[in-house]
Subunit: 225 residues, 2 copies
């Protein structure tokens, strides 16, 4: 079923690849949006390009936005990326207002191409505890762009699609495999080797490995451990 256009945030990780696969399956012409924000693990951008090509998109844009201007995160600064499971609170890998910035750009592109559909692969079950992955934030953002955009003011309804919001990592992987997402192309690690090999120890690797194990499937990417 044809659904018109949608902007899909695509980091190059497992979740965003699955989210793009779902948007495609649901009939959207996908405008994939990635960010070069100064992340140390910017090999994820190569993964994003490969995934966009593999799944098939109308357009893929990588926006350059330098969040190293002020840092504040282990993902952009010279702070050690911790191993998984060492914190109860929001971890040092939290990048201040990252999803807010990503969604703001997505809303801008959506308005420019005449759609009010945005897909984001946020998840609040098997996740790192980032506040900008939770449903309350997504609902508040939708309200915010309804007030703050031409489309919203002309009475159009914005839709922030979060198909992974309440799935476990294993359920995400199972759903993705059913629609043919190629997980060998994805990159999840926060702390890869210079050649882009995953560490297997950071929070992101840990959640991914747990998900594949629970799904009873072998993770097709390489790890250094």
């Amino acid at each position: 079923m044809k659904q018109g256009k949608a902007v899909v945030l695509l980091s190059g990780g497992l979740d965003s690849a699955t989210c793009l696969g779902i948007a495609r399956r649901d009939g959207f012409a996908c405008y994939a949006l990635s960010f070069n924000y100064g992340q140390r693990h910017n090999c994820e951008l190569d993964a994003a390009r490969a995934i966009a090509q593999n799944i098939g998109v109308a357009e893929h844009v990588t926006a350059n936005i330098d969040l190293r201007l002020w840092g504040g995160s282990a993902l952009t600064d010279d702070i050690r990326v911790p191993n998984a499971g060492t914190a109860d609170s929001i971890p040092v890998t939290y990048v201040p207002a990252r999803n807010l910035i990503f969604l703001a750009f997505a809303a801008s592109w959506a308005e420019a191409i005449g759609t009010t559909n945005i897909f984001i692969g946020v998840n609040s079950l098997d996740y790192s505890g980032y506040p900008d992955c939770r449903p309350q934030f997504i609902t508040a953002f939708q309200q915010c762009i309804t007030c703050g955009t031409r489309a919203g003011n002309e009475g159009q309804q914005w839709h922030i699609h979060t198909p992974l919001q309440h799935l476990s990592k294993a359920e995400i992987i199972t759903a993705g495999l059913q629609i043919g997402v190629n997980y060998s192309l994805t990159h999840s690690c926060y702390n890869p080797t210079p050649a882009g090999i995953a560490c297997g120890k950071c929070d992101s690797c840990s959640l991914r490995l747990k998900g594949f194990k629970e799904a009873g499937i072998v993770d097709p990417i390489r790890y250094i451990i």
Copy 2:
């Protein structure tokens, strides 16, 4: 009275200069934030630097974010900037989700430097009708970052200061002059000459000229008309 830090959005125009002056007067250590977003009138960035230096800031950052990636506005694309007063609806100079993107970056910087104070010189009286200048949008944005940031989740209250929200342009100018804002340093025109001289005809020039006239003060900048 010392108030701690605040991020202040500074375009280089009359409103943002006044807003920065007010934040300084109110005792905030100001972190001024400008954007090179592909605007055709990027001489406003020179104005922003001069204003920041003149008023005095703790730091001034200009972030590069290329909104020409998708365009959709006469301010970034090769669309003619209209003269003032030709439209009832949101004009073609509206840049999709611009203030949302600017505020998202401001929230990110604020978190990184440990403050929850942001100043933005939006105004919904003598303005171009942009939806992202209205109080409903600002309230919704504040709610959004309360949900979506570490600070908000740790119980801190975000403050989006909009000291110009309900002032007329004449009142803004009068307030600015009382605290010593030097309007000869500001740039407002959407359609300047290559040398940065204001056209005097676009919506922004028109609102500015009307404001100075109503305030009974001569605008100190040059116009080509």
